[in-house]
């Protein structure tokens, strides 16, 4: 210990302290601050870059998911539209059919009614015509028959027979 104390040089201690403190402050100002700041900035830059890359990746994923969703929606919509169109077509066809049916049956009905009325008219005409002809015939027959007594009786009898049958 005594030897150590003897070796201890106040001058060297003084210079060491002064020079070291000077070095410390100089390096702090000119070296350590710029170095540590640069390293920190770089590290933060790397960290930021990594997080933003991660964020971009996630956004990309989201975008892809969105795209997928949109695509699916579009598919579904197309499907729905197609279905609707098909339904509409079917309905239209059915409607048209129905209407045509109705029209047709109506026309048939009309036709039938027309036929019926024509038939009636024709029948009435025919009846009147036949009546006319019958009257004419009857007149002629009567004129002829009445001239003959027997024949008159025969006629009356036949007519009576007919009337009973009716």
């Amino acid at each position: 210990m005594e030897k150590l104390l003897e070796q201890f040089s106040v001058g060297l201690f003084f210079w060491q302290t002064v020079l070291f403190i000077a070095l410390l402050f100089l390096l702090k100002k000119f070296a350590w601050k710029p170095i540590l700041n640069a390293i920190n900035e770089r590290e933060e830059g790397i960290r930021d870059a990594l997080t933003s890359a991660e964020k971009a990746r996630r956004e990309m994923e989201n975008l892809q998911a969105d795209n997928q969703k949109l695509l699916q929606e579009a598919h579904a919509e197309r499907e729905a539209m197609l279905k609707e169109a098909r339904d509409m077509k079917n309905k239209m066809v059915a409607d048209a059919k129905e209407e045509a049916q109705a029209q047709a049956s109506k026309m048939i009905e009309q036709a039938q009614a027309a036929i019926e009325s024509e038939k009636k008219a024709a029948m009435a005409e025919l009846k009147s015509h036949v009546a006319g002809i019958s009257l004419g015939i009857a007149e002629k027959v009567l004129r002829q028959e009445l001239s003959n007594k027997d024949k008159q009786i025969e006629l009356v009898e036949s007519m009576l027979g007919e009337a009973i049958l009716n």
């Binding site: 210990m1 150590l4 003897e6 070796q7 201890f8 040089s9 106040v10 001058g11 060297l12 201690f13 003084f14 210079w15 060491q16 302290t17 020079l19 070291f20 403190i21 000077a22 070095l23 410390l24 100089l26 390096l27 702090k28 000119f30 070296a31 350590w32 601050k33 710029p34 170095i35 540590l36 640069a38 390293i39 900035e41 770089r42 830059g45």
Partner: protein, 359 residues
């Protein structure tokens, strides 16, 4: 800790003595041993001139090659003169009417004839003037400071220039800076407070590491193995710890929460002692490790010249080579330990916790 050094020193001394006794029969060898011992001791000490190498000429005269450094003394006024005036301790330097002489690497005030008086235990009794000389260690500290400043300033600039990416030598230092931040500062101090201490931790780590490495160069300047330097460093850690400490820290020292009152009274002086022992262990650890490393390494190198046989010398060469590699590791390790423990102490100082849970 103190014991450890004593053990280390005695072991080393015993080793040296055994070598000396081994070579006792040969006076030339003994002389060599003494020379090596003196050389090692000289090397471990700070010095007033920057010695690059020494040569022995044909007449057996030793010449030191290097350059002198300024000596700055405060002795009733500032005295500045070149250390070349000492002639490596052989001459008396005259400055401003006073005379100074070197003895065992220290400057003493003497009279014109340069007589140094010793007491019984061979300690010089002459007056030691206040010495603020630019010694070899101060020069090395200065060089390290300039080197670090240029290096890290350049690194700081290269970030700005290259858009936040280090270039060149920064590629090597950036992982170390990051390591200190992520594995020393943040785990020990905590995410919240670590930023305040980063400058100190980074500076102290690189400062100690660089000086340790410089100590291993052939110039062999033993700066971090100097008690004054490690004291200065540890003192800063001590001051920063206690000046930035929050009230939790002081509460834990003077009135330990969660223990009975008598224990509080007993714990207070122990904790208070701990405040001083912690940085003290820092300064002794660094000093002892570097000092011991230098002693071992230089002794092994010295052995090569003592053995002077191809087996012994090559063996000690291999050994000193291996130790050199270990010392490179130790240089880093000691810097790491100093930084780590400083961070740990700062962590204690700013720790925030709930007493009910923690104890």
């Amino acid at each position: 800790m103190r014991k450890k050094i004593t053990v280390k020193t005695t072991t080393f001394l015993l080793l040296l003595i055994s070598f000396f006794s081994y070579g006792k029969e040969d006076p030339a060898k003994e002389e060599k041993n003494a020379e090596i011992k003196a050389y090692i001791q000289h090397h471990l000490q700070d010095s007033y001139d920057f010695n690059l190498y020494s040569v022995t000429d044909d007449n057996g005269q030793i010449h030191h090659r290097g350059f002198p450094l300024p000596v700055i003394l405060w002795d009733n006024g500032l005295k500045v003169f070149s250390s070349s005036k000492f002639h490596h301790g052989e001459a008396v330097a005259k400055a401003g009417g006073n005379y100074y002489k070197l003895d065992h690497g220290k400057i003493y005030k003497t009279d014109a004839s340069g007589i140094i008086n010793y007491d019984e235990s061979h300690h010089a009794t002459n007056v030691k003037p206040l010495d603020f000389s630019i010694t070899k260690s101060v020069v090395m500290i200065l060089i390290t400071c300039i080197l670090m400043f240029l290096l890290f300033k350049g690194l700081g600039r290269s970030y700005a220039k290259n858009g936040g990416i280090a270039k060149g030598v920064g590629r090597f230092f950036e992982p170390i800076v990051l390591y200190i931040r992520d594995d020393i500062a943040i785990p020990n101090i905590g995410e919240k407070h670590y930023k305040r201490y980063m400058s100190y931790l980074l500076t102290i780590f690189f400062f100690i590491w660089f000086l340790n490495i410089f100590g291993l160069t052939p110039l062999g300047v033993n700066v971090t193995g100097n008690i004054a330097v490690t004291t200065a460093l540890a003192l800063l850690t001590f001051l920063i710890t206690n000046l930035t400490a929050n009230k939790n820290y002081w509460k834990h020292i003077f009135w330990m929460p969660g223990v009975p009152v008598p224990m509080k009274v007993i714990l207070a002086p122990i904790e208070l002692l701990g405040v001083i022992i912690k940085p003290f262990s820092l300064l002794i650890r660094l000093y002892a490790n570097m000092q011991a490393g230098h002693i071992v390494l230089m002794s092994l190198i010295g052995l090569m010249f003592i053995f002077k046989s191809w087996i012994g010398s090559s063996l000690s060469f291999g050994l000193s080579f291996a130790i050199s590699l270990i010392e490179v590791l130790v240089a880093l390790l000691q810097a790491y330990i100093f930084t780590m423990l400083s961070a740990l102490y700062f962590g204690f100082a700013v720790e925030e916790h709930d007493h009910e849970e923690a104890h």
